[in-house]
Symmetry: C2
Subunit: 163 residues, 2 copies
DNA sequence: CCGGAGCGGTTGACGTGTCAATAATGCTAC
DNA sequence: GTAGCATTATTGACACGTCAACCGCTCCGG
């Protein structure tokens, strides 16, 4: 199928109906996948994907503590987004914030025992869900193809989305 | 690579490090893709993806009018979500709502000229962006593979996500 | 010394999404 | 008829994200 070109695909023009169908299915399915995973995480652990990302980073950090902006870069969030999210997580007792002694105006985020517990309880079911809904849904070939497609899309997306 | 199985993959267990890496790249890249497309649509047309979906459905509807719950099923939204969104779109003059004469308690949503205009102006750039960021980033083989992967994921996701 | 640039973090406003509760209306069963 | 009951839409409360403005602090140049 190296000569599909229903309307001469060279020329920077519009997607064909078939290409558009693939696109729509693709974007809708990834959305459904994310939403199913989110919902399982929520009902099993009362955690959102955002909570999970923060707790994962803190769990792996030295002293279960990280500077706020360090954390932000690590998980790829804007500082403002993180600040809002930490506020909500602090209200629920998952993390605490305290002034950083060494850095002027710096804030340290630290995992509470409750936060560590919640994270520990959530990991295995979450990983199992990833396996069930993604890994096991695909053949080994498809899984490798997914990796290649991902890489191609990301390369095409520009350097700002690299990491 | 038909015998990877670093920890005997049969048995419904956890994803391997490699599988997890593919998963993370996959989900992050689709997210980056969606966000880039959203941002282009926004700057070019001052429309959100939600606006686009609603306007598209109404443009194709008889009399540019649709019953609210019909519209909701058509684009796959909960009625509540649609109601909120229509409120915002109505404030911006993109659509209007009026009581439906035939159906009890029913509401008709209709496209305003301003809404039709905004949609018309947005379509070509949006489709071009889809082509540039998705279709043209992949080889024909990869595009077909993406379709197959999508289908496999969706099938595995259960009937409630079929459409 | 002081005035402004820059960094780190927070805040507010607002769009967006979900969930549960609430109308408003017709239908059905007694 | 009238007491439920389903259907249709809306509403309110809240979580989440982005953007722009702000605040406190250091540091550097005059």
């Amino acid at each position: 199928m190296t000569k599909t070109t229903p309307e001469q695909r060279r020329g920077g023009h519009l997607p064909t109906a078939e290409e558009l169908r693939i696109w729509r299915d693709f974007i809708e399915t990834t959305e459904a996948l994310r939403s199913e995973l989110t919902s399982r995480l929520q009902t099993e652990s009362s955690l959102s994907p955002g909570d999970y990302a923060v707790l994962l980073a803190l769990s792996e950090a030295q002293d279960r503590t990280m500077r706020s902006s360090e954390l932000a870069t690590h998980i790829g969030w804007e500082r403002s987004r993180l600040s809002h999210h930490l506020g909500r997580m602090e209200r629920r007792g998952l993390i605490r914030r305290q002034e950083c002694p060494t850095v002027p105006r710096g804030a340290e985020v630290l995992l509470t025992p409750a936060g560590a517990d919640a994270f520990r309880r959530s990991t295995v079911p979450h990983l199992r869900a990833i396996r069930e809904l993604f890994v096991d849904a695909l053949t080994p070939d498809q899984l490798r193809a997914a990796g290649a497609i991902t890489a191609a899309l990301r390369a095409n997306l520009g350097p700002q989305h690299e990491e």
